[in-house]
């Protein structure tokens, strides 16, 4: 290539205590090129991103901006240098309005201070470009993960940066938003912006990027032109071995009804939702972002109060608004927002895994530490968790590994009805297959699984039945045989299904 890179990393390394998160990795970002970063969970992608954005200072190696070595003393320096970052986990100010989140520190000003009208207009313009229906004055608190991610994207775009780094921006998005985002990204690329894109969805990398760099265990593996390699090659580079089929849902005989939801309504959120899930069955709940799927799951599990309707588990009605009652009945919910709802970030891995099942490691009134640790280790190994020690706080784990801890916490309870909300969000291909195998095994063992997912291939590959929600209502139920991308999307966007 004859152009020179805007931003390069040269032989950077970064360790956290004993963990060598990034080892002598080099990377060149060229203007007008979208560069993909691939690797399993914990491979060091996010750490690399944080080095680029000045959050972490590399232990060794250099950062080059336009060929000149620079040192980023903090995120502010990187921003000044024209590097915009969308972090893996949304970093919003919950109390502030969406537009202030976007323009914090860069608010348009008039003579009388901040010019809110101009700010509102710019925010609306950004949202329009992304095709998002968000009110710029709305507070960020209460936004769904997807909406938060979209605000992050708008924020990064508003910087009009020379380098745009996106750490799994699509993990929480469904097809429609992803398409919009890619549209915007392509435009930026054509305008000469350099993109760094991270995703665990291989097809997205192939769709958007020209080049891909692969990391494994913090070390550089290869950098290829996308055109030159196949998906299988890429997976092999990431995982270091061949992978078997991605979606191994076994056919199982379905048993009696385990979860029965009748005419469930929570005013203003979802209306009249009825469905059932049988033992041994995986039912997917599909829909666009904001259709209300997570809200249904929350209500069923007793997090939110419902206004009308009923939920039965094994023929017994659940007390409303009581997660404890739901758990006692055999229900488990893997929530979509792992940082807020799934994990206590300051607590250790073992305590997090143990938290939902304290009763099972008790000796009399006391907790048996060996039993607790045994249980945690068992599940950590089964889910191939990448960790230093079980006593490390979960916040040092990579995003995907955090997700595994949430899964472990709930699977360890051996639930009879398992609700998983975006179970593989941010999980790498290898582990994703692992999670799918697990879900499938659980179903085979007689567990009723309700899976909420925004990833259509996952829905189609895993589900025995697909329920589709649109604007708070259940609009379609599609059997495994009839479920195709077209049929599901049609229902999800509100077009009637044949």
């Amino acid at each position: 290539m004859d152009v020179s890179p805007v931003l390069s990393l040269s032989q950077v390394s970064k360790s956290f205590g004993a963990v060598r998160a990034v080892r002598e990795v080099s990377l060149d970002l060229f203007p007008g090129e979208a560069h993909a970063l691939a690797g399993e969970n914990g491979a060091g992608k996010s750490t690399l991103v944080k080095i680029l954005s000045g959050v972490h200072r590399p232990d060794s190696g250099r950062i080059l901006l336009d060929g000149e070595p620079v040192e980023f003393g903090g995120p502010a320096d990187a921003q000044h240098a024209g590097v915009a970052v969308i972090y893996q986990e949304p970093t919003l100010f919950p109390d502030l309005s969406v537009m202030e989140n976007i323009f914090m520190g860069r608010q348009p000003r008039s003579r009388l201070g901040i010019d809110r009208r101009a700010m509102r207009a710019s925010a609306a313009e950004l949202f329009a470009g992304l095709g998002v229906r968000l009110d710029p004055d709305q507070p960020a608190r209460g936004l769904s993960i997807a909406d938060q991610q979209l605000v992050e994207i708008a924020k990064a775009l508003s910087l009009r940066a020379r380098v745009l780094v996106m750490d799994e921006p699509t993990a929480a998005l469904s097809g429609k938003e992803v398409a919009r985002l890619f549209g915007v990204a392509r435009t930026l690329r054509e305008q000469g912006c350099a993109l760094l894109f991270i995703s665990h969805r291989l097809e997205e990398m192939f769709e958007l990027c020209q080049r891909v760099t692969t990391l494994r265990d913090g070390a550089f593996v290869a950098s290829d032109l996308i055109a030159d390699i196949s998906a299988d090659d890429l997976v092999r580079r990431m995982v270091g071995r061949d992978l078997e089929a991605l979606f191994p849902k076994q056919e199982t005989d379905t048993g009696e009804v385990a979860l029965q939801v009748r005419r469930l309504t929570r005013e203003g959120v979802f209306t009249d939702v009825s469905f059932e899930v049988r033992r041994g069955e995986i039912v997917a709940l599909a829909g666009l972002v904001g259709a209300g799927r997570s809200e249904v799951a929350r209500a069923v599990f007793g997090i939110d109060r419902w206004d009308a309707g009923s939920v039965e588990v094994d023929g017994r009605r659940l007390r409303p608004a009581s997660p404890t009652a739901a758990m006692a009945a055999g229900l488990a919910l893997v929530p979509e927002d792992r940082r807020q709802q799934g994990l206590v970030m300051d607590l250790s891995i073992e305590r997090n895994i143990g938290l939902a099942g304290l009763a099972s490691v008790r000796r009399g009134p006391l907790i048996s530490r060996p039993a607790e640790r045994e249980r945690a280790r068992d599940w950590a190994v089964r889910l191939r968790l990448k960790f230093g020690r079980l006593t490390d706080p979960v916040n040092v784990l990579s995003g995907g590994n955090q997700q595994k801890v949430v899964l472990a916490k709930w699977l360890a309870r051996k639930p009879s009805v398992l609700i998983v909300d975006e179970p593989t969000r941010g999980i790498d291909v290898g582990t994703k297959a692992e999670v799918h195998r697990l879900l499938s095994e659980l179903a085979a063992g007689g567990v009723a699984v309700l899976m909420i997912s925004s990833e259509l291939p996952e829905v189609l590959g895993m589900a025995d039945r697909v329920l589709v929600m649109h604007e708070g209502r259940l609009v379609a139920e599609i059997g495994r045989a009839e479920a195709t991308e077209e049929s599901v999307m049609a229902a999800a966007t509100g077009r009637s299904v044949a």
Partner: protein, 346 residues
């Protein structure tokens, strides 16, 4: 996106904004309602409560706490707290009074400036402890609450400065009225308006909210968190210093115990005023209204001839009632908002 779609979008967001605005206003409305009830009921029972002299006294009484509440709001918004204000007030009040008493010729503006600087220095100590050395604010300022008071005691050594020792021109600052409004209340009002404007219309002001709302995100957004936190503490300290010298002018009798325990009143005013104790939201106007409400309650109890022994209890009960009222209103609005969300979005 077509033009009409965009228009629809804007209109929708306008509708949403109106709603949000209304909710935001309700935050302070709760206290205004409480204030209205208080003044209405008390005035009905004893009309002398609503006379000019009485209202003037209430304004005077709330001026100092209101100013402290404004300063405290700056700190609380950043998810911190300053318990040491009462000790700073004491230090500044005693220091100022002592200098005025011992040096008869010293120009009053110089003394006032000195007190503000003294307060700012105390604030800077707090700010450095919290912002730079990362000591949790509650711990740091609980420590300096003791420490500053200790300095105050050591300085005073049992001495008391009486009104007779200070120049008349200084004392009159505490009671003089301009256009019928007592001077301390005018100063507090000016401070309130300036700080209120800065918090809303300056980037630095918005950044304080951002820091309180999510400290981690603030770092990632490139906000100079340390500097802002120190600045908030310094500003609060300076206001406490000003409040201290106002205290000396108003009450005339000053010793080392001035304002002991006032920090709880200030925080109560801030909390009643709807400032979130965990940062990120609330306005100085609310905090000042909170201070006014607390002063109003105290005056009303005296005017209503409530038994002295029962006053503390009723004070506490009314405080709780005000918080509960505010909360119930907020919950109602939130519920209404949820019900409307889908209709609105369509």
């Amino acid at each position: 996106m077509t033009v009409t779609e965009a228009e629809a979008e804007t209109r929708r967001s306008n509708g949403g904004r109106r709603l949000v605005d209304r909710v935001a206003r309700v935050r302070e409305l709760g206290i205004v309602v409480a204030l209205g009830i208080l003044f209405g009921v008390t005035g009905a029972v004893n009309p002398s409560f609503l006379t000019y002299a009485s209202l003037r006294d209430i304004l005077l009484n709330s001026a100092i706490v209101a100013m402290l509440a404004v300063g405290q709001t700056l700190v609380v918004i950043t998810r911190n707290v300053d318990l040491s204000v009462s000790s700073v007030v004491g230090l500044s009040a005693f220091g100022g009074a002592l200098i005025l008493a011992d040096n008869p010729g010293v120009p009053i503006p110089v003394v006032i400036a000195g007190c503000v600087l003294l307060g700012a220095a105390c604030g800077a100590i707090n700010g450095l402890l919290v912002g730079v050395a990362k000591v949790p604010a509650l711990v740091a300022t609980l420590g300096t609450l003791y420490a500053f008071r200790g300095i105050d005691y050591a300085w005073a050594g049992g001495r008391q400065v009486n009104a007779a020792d200070m120049p008349e021109s200084f004392l009159s600052l505490g009671t003089r009225s301009v256009l019928g409004i007592p001077l301390p209340a005018l100063v507090a009002l000016a401070v309130l308006l300036v700080v209120g404007w800065m918090l809303r219309n300056l980037r630095a002001g918005r950044e304080l909210y951002a820091i309180g709302s999510s400290p981690e995100a603030a770092v990632l957004a490139g906000i100079r968190v340390r500097r802002r936190i120190v600045a908030a503490f310094v500003a609060n300290g300076a206001l406490a210093g000003l409040a201290g010298i106002m205290w000396a002018a108003r009450f005339g009798t000053v010793d080392a115990t001035v304002a002991t325990g006032k920090e709880l009143d200030v925080i109560a005013a801030v909390v009643v005023g709807g400032v979130a104790i965990f940062g990120g939201s609330g306005t100085v106007y609310g905090a000042a209204l909170g201070a006014l409400l607390l002063a109003g309650i105290t005056s009303a109890l005296a005017v209503l001839r409530v038994d002295a022994l029962a006053q503390t209890a009723i004070n506490g009960a009314l405080l709780i009632a005000a918080i509960v009222l505010d909360r119930v209103l907020a919950l109602r609005v939130a519920a209404a908002l949820r019900r409307r969300r889908f209709h609105d979005a369509r």
